[in-house]
């Protein structure tokens, strides 16, 4: 009996045996929390990375609303649900694979797997089930192109980014950023059955936004990443090179983000927001580039990280607002 009880409450034997999947800190954290056992629904919900999921839902909603053609609200809701669940499934699979490095990083050590609330086995099963379900439902109930794009997004995030790039190259989040950029494209395909230049622009904006956003975070979390052995740019190339890269990417991102207005895809409001907020992004990126020492440098990096979220939100909220108001006036 005691063995059976141990299998219910102890750390995941599968994860510990599958070397590299859950090792060291994650395993001991599992032992520490072994008395609790049986994850609660909120622990599974946490596996879905709800904060990331909310951004995915929001950007997908923009793609859905701006796509040509009329899509029935129930079908639109189903598409958003599948995209959200697919993103959440990717998060669960990411937490399963990264449990060992999550356990040694301050920001992530409280996640369900390293803290022992959910076993690696459970996270894997949960992620795979939701992945399959979201792709199949999106493909059958909405359309095959959207289903295929969602499947590719999950594959890209879990296999290309999490399993391969994250631990092997300092360009991990540059290439891996594509996974986070796909949702508006998937949503566009769900609504229209096709993909055109406008959703590709939305994809490109998120893609080029990701490096300055994550590198700003990595600048003041470099010790965490170094301890976990994750080759983030500040760890491998140093903070000065990271500051230069942040500035270069921001200088490329701002005109790119304004381009929908100049190409006629968005209106004056979007043009104004993208130029003004973009100018502030550049100011903050220059500040990060110039202020390199002490608490002021950390403050500058935190400022850019925080505002980058506001910036992306403002861009997509304006696109959404223009589409909704345009639809009401038609």
């Amino acid at each position: 009996m005691s063995d059976e009880r141990a299998s219910l409450t102890g750390p995941d034997p599968y994860a510990m045996a599958s070397g590299g999947v859950m090792a060291g800190g994650a395993a001991s954290a599992g032992v520490a929390a072994a008395g609790e056992g049986l994850a609660a629904p909120r622990d599974y919900f946490e596996l879905l990375k709800p904060r990331v999921m909310s951004l995915v839902i929001f950007t997908a909603l923009v793609g859905l609303v701006r796509a040509p053609g009329d899509v029935h609200p129930v079908i639109a809701f189903t598409a958003l649900l599948c995209i959200a669940v697919g993103a959440g499934a990717s998060g669960a699979l990411n937490m399963w694979w990264d449990a060992d490095i999550d356990a040694v990083m301050t920001r992530t050590r409280g996640r369900p797997v390293p803290s022992g609330r959910v076993t690696g086995h459970e996270a894997l099963a949960f992620g795979l089930t939701l992945s399959a379900f979201s792709v199949v439902v999106l493909g059958l109930l909405v359309n095959a192109l959207a289903g295929a794009l969602l499947a590719f997004t999950i594959f890209f995030y879990v296999v290309i980014y999490t399993m391969w790039l994250k631990r092997s190259t300092s360009q991990n989040i540059v290439i891996g950023g594509a996974a986070g950029a796909f949702p508006p494209l998937v949503a566009w395909a769900a609504a229209s059955g096709t993909v055109s230049l406008e959703p590709v622009l939305l994809f490109a904006i998120i893609f080029f936004w990701t490096p300055p956003h994550f590198w700003a975070l990595a600048l003041y979390r470099a010790d965490d990443y170094a301890r976990a052995g994750v080759p983030m740019l500040p760890v491998t190339a140093g903070p000065d090179e990271t500051r230069l890269q942040i500035l270069l990417y921001t200088l490329f991102l701002v005109p790119l983000a304004a381009s929908p207005a100049f190409l006629g895809y968005a209106g004056l409001a979007y043009g104004a927001v993208s130029v003004l907020a973009g100018a502030w992004m550049i100011v903050l990126a220059v500040r990060v580039f110039r202020v390199r020492q002490g608490e002021a440098a950390v403050k500058a990096a935190k400022g850019l990280f925080g505002f980058s979220i506001v910036y992306l939100f403002a861009l997509f909220a304006t696109l959404l607002g223009e589409a909704v108001i345009g639809g009401l006036l038609r």
Binding site: M1, R5, E36, L38, A39, P41, V74, I75, L141
Partner: protein
């Protein structure tokens, strides 16, 4: 025969996996969550079927 009946040794009591009250509470919460998700999915598939087929949903040979 001494009249004493030799008792057969009884197998140890099988009490299975005993869950703590906290685990029972979580198990119940999980069951409710799974039931809610299944119910929601059944409703979603029903509504999507109606939306996709429209009036044709009634068009079937009797």
């Amino acid at each position: 025969m001494s009249g004493e009946k030799k008792e057969k040794p009884r197998p140890p009591q099988e009490d299975g996996v005993v869950l703590t009250p906290e685990q029972l509470k979580r198990q119940r919460a999980r069951s409710i969550a799974i039931a809610s998700v299944l119910g929601f999915l059944a409703l979603l598939f029903y509504v999507v079927t109606i939306v996709k087929l429209g009036p044709n949903v009634l068009n079937r040979p009797l």
